[in-house]
């Protein structure tokens, strides 16, 4: 790959030695692999996060996890890598960033063969944003969906706050990526360099007037060891935390009488799917229960009402328990009449609800495999495919 410039051969006449110096490996294999892997996982996370529905959540979470692992690995390499990978070699203070910008405006700025001071800021911003995205994503996942390392700790309100931040950060990352690409295009034009190719081959041509990079020897074995400890420890902690019982998720099986009496005609809806006031209204009107008479003996009604009001939406912290606390004004105990239910199911066609495998909108268990638990984990949605009658 090494090419010799005529300039070098003429001046020194030691072609072989100069040839080795003329082309310099700027981006080591790890940095290049990291860069393009990050592009892939960020693209996957962005596509699934911005455009895909709940059924893609798992892909999004895996992409985010991979992103977090990549960032950790890059940070480790930032302390153990060689000249162009080491943070201390390219992260500069504000004064140098300003003088770099002045030099660009004046046309006097030379070429940084690695990251220039402004580019270095971008690297830090990208890594920090990615790390915060992973963190807020994990808190949102734990608080709202009750899985992952923060499920035992984060309540729904903090999960929702984290999701707001997560979405702001996601837009921030989109902006940063756009600026990063624009910066690379501009710098490539300014220094007449093919920066994209350099990130593939790793090589750049050395030129007179390049800013020298400090000569720092990479310590790959140390980097590997620290990386393994960090990533291994991280994975172990995440899986230990994720296996702790999630906060506010029902664990007791459904009351047998409730499951028998109410499950005779429809899904035995978990009591946490309606607030206590709705349950009381429902039991007060069993004679006209969704267009049918569902009368029960008073002693059974009393028993069931005590059970459901003690396990109502207010008593749990799952996503449905939080969402269904707000009921429709004109149908206080019809889950499918709530705005949340309608919004969540807007993408499901009528044909699916009318299909033999589903039959009705209220048949939660036809698609939500964990409906009986009241949890409604997005990973356990399985919409029946056959929709012909």
């Amino acid at each position: 790959m090494a090419t010799t410039t005529t300039h070098d051969t003429q001046e020194h006449g030691m072609a072989a030695a100069d040839a080795a110096r003329a082309s310099v490996k700027v981006w080591d294999p790890f940095v290049r692999l990291f860069h393009w892997s990050l592009v892939a996982v960020v693209a996957t996370a962005a596509l699934t996060g911005f455009f895909a529905g709940a059924s893609w959540l798992q892909v999004h979470v895996w992409a985010g996890t991979a992103m977090a692992a990549l960032v950790v690995a890059r940070v480790v390499w930032g302390f153990t890598g060689g000249s162009y990978a080491r943070f201390s070699a390219f992260i500069r203070g504000p004064r140098q960033v300003i003088s770099h910008l002045r030099g660009i405006v004046d046309g006097t700025e030379g070429r940084h063969i690695g990251h220039n001071p402004l580019g270095a800021l971008m690297i830090v911003a990208l890594l920090a944003t990615a790390a915060l995205l992973a963190l807020t994503g994990a808190v949102a996942l734990g608080g709202m969906f009750k899985f992952g390392p923060f499920a035992f700790l984060a309540d729904f309100a903090s999960g929702r706050l984290a999701r707001e931040l997560h979405s702001l950060l996601a837009w921030g990352l989109v902006l940063l990526v756009a600026l990063h690409v624009a910066g690379a295009v501009f710098e490539g034009w300014r220094t007449r360099d093919n920066l994209m190719r350099a990130m593939v081959t790793g090589a750049k041509q050395r030129r007179p007037g390049d800013y020298p990079a400090p000569r720092l020897a990479a310590r790959p074995m140390l980097g590997l060891a620290v990386g393994v400890v960090f990533l291994g420890g991280g994975a172990a902690s995440v899986s230990t935390l994720a296996s702790r019982p999630p906060l506010g998720v029902p664990t007791a099986p459904l009351d047998a009488v409730y499951a028998d009496e109410c499950g005779a005609c429809h899904t035995a809806y978990h009591p946490s799917l309606l607030p206590a006031a709705s349950w009381r209204a429902l039991f007060a009107n069993l004679g006209d229960h969704f267009g049918e008479d569902a009368t029960l003996p008073p002693e059974t009604v009393a028993k069931l009402e005590a059970y459901v009001t003690a396990n109502a939406a207010e008593d749990f912290d799952t996503l449905p328990a939080n969402a269904f606390r707000r009921t429709a004004a004109d149908a206080p105990y019809q889950i499918t009449a709530t705005r949340f239910w309608k919004w969540m199911h807007a993408g499901i066609s009528d044909a699916v609800f009318k299909s033999p495998a589903v039959g009705a909108r209220g048949n939660c268990a036809a698609c939500h495999r964990d409906a009986a638990t009241g949890r409604f984990d997005p990973r356990r949605i399985d919409i029946p495919q056959e929709i012909t009658r």
């Binding site: 005779a264 005609c265 899904t267 049918e292 008479d293 009368t295 039959g359 009705a360 048949n363």
Partner: protein
Amino acid sequence: MMHKRKLAVLAAIAALAGATAVMAGPRDDILAGYAAEAGVTAFDAAAGKALFTGTHTGGKPETPSCTTCHTGNLTGPGKTRAGKVIEPMAVSANPQRFTDPAKVEKWFGRNCRSVLGRECSAKEKGDVITWLSSL
């Protein structure tokens, strides 16, 4: 081998017949109770069929007939309006039918009010059970 299988089938049939015979006891008691209440000596299967398969206007508009949910094929399963499967109504397909007095009363109560808008008489309940036992 064939012998063994035949024996197994025979044993299964015998067991089923035995079960049906055992189950027939409570059903006869339930029918006897309705007969005493209605003051009749026999029930009318044809009247039961007419009530069960007929379309009614007195009840809730969602359920004009028993067959809305139980379907016209009583040896097969039905389906509630909420999508839940209902076991067959015909005793021949479901020997458990009409053997638990509390259940029988609960569902006649609910479903007569839903479909007819009133309670069923003891005569009507006996007619329907008699018809569904004859299928």
